[in-house]
Point group: C2
Chain length 191, copies 2
């Protein structure tokens, strides 16, 4: 059955959002085209009217998941004008973020996966990382532009690594300790 133009556009958006969440939760190979469509409330047949392939969906969903990363600085400034960097660290390293990969950082959720993905996905991720670094640099202290950027990149790496490690281990106490340790070090580096 046919749906209205707006309905179709909305369906497409929901497919993208749903895919972005499911991929982060279960990995690219852990989610089938039919799974995504079913979660949206459609059947698998209509999929290829929206996307040319699963790879195409993966790349676009990745881009969608990265949108948030590009707005890091702006959001943090709005939420905590006094200490935006601190707000980012707190949010990123919160147990709630660790426990909800579907709506969190795509690098932590799909990082090792994406490195093995097709070109389109790699490009989307690269742009996302670039935007995240730029946003972080803008609110990172430092004498020179270059120094701020270097520090921002390292902070980003610490955040990602800590979240990956915290999700990896099968021991809640150790997981909490990892998040806390990263937060402590990132704070003390700020002085």
């Amino acid at each position: 059955m046919r749906v209205s133009r707006e309905q179709m556009a909305e369906n497409r958006e929901r497919i993208l959002d749903t895919a972005a969440t499911l991929f982060r939760e279960r990995g690219f190979d852990g989610v089938g085209v039919a799974d995504v469509m079913k979660a949206v409330g459609l059947t698998h047949g209509g999929f290829y009217g929206h996307f040319s392939s699963k790879d195409d969906l993966a790349a676009q969903a990745l881009g969608r998941a990265f949108v948030h990363a590009g707005q890091w600085a702006a959001e943090a400034k709005a939420a905590e004008p006094e200490a935006p960097l601190q707000a980012i660290f707190d949010r990123y390293l919160a147990p709630s973020h660790r426990d909800d990969p579907g709506h969190g950082c795509p690098v932590a959720a799909l990082g090792s996966d994406t490195a093995r993905q097709g070109e389109a996905s790699r490009l989307a991720a690269t742009e996302g990382v670039r935007a995240a670094i730029k946003g972080l640099s803008a609110i990172t202290p430092g004498a020179t532009e270059e120094e701020r950027r270097t520090t921002a990149i390292a902070s980003y790496a610490t955040l990602v690594g800590a979240l990956v490690l915290a999700r990896l281990v099968d021991d809640g106490a150790l997981s909490d300790e990892i998040l806390a340790a990263a937060k402590t070090e990132l704070q003390s580096a700020q002085e």
Copy 2:
């Protein structure tokens, strides 16, 4: 055809080593049982004489991949008795490590994957991470035991995150910059 006891034991070891490499290179879902056996020079049929399932293999191969991580400190001390920590940072953040995931850090290569794996794999990874933290703590400077451990965990996170990001991006210059930035920050934190 049957092979000797030693031959069988050697085959089992080669299956494990090969799997540990292939999984890190292509992800758990990117490698089939038949792929591993073929790479070893056997056929898929004999697999279940060695392991009870692919999950079983994955868990044991992960354990194998983590062996190296537990010996971090010892190896670094042997190679660079003066500055073992520096040796670890240099080696971990080297382009050669980035470009050879099959023989490198299992957290960076399979981190986000493993978080979705079965219990046995999670446990193997948890033990590996624990050992790596312990090893790093032993050569990390700091006033108290607790402080050394906190710093070691954060350094580990920075290493992992930087490698994941460096492998993720589709731009060699940005990738190199990420590795260099992490190294710079880790060094300056040491004073």
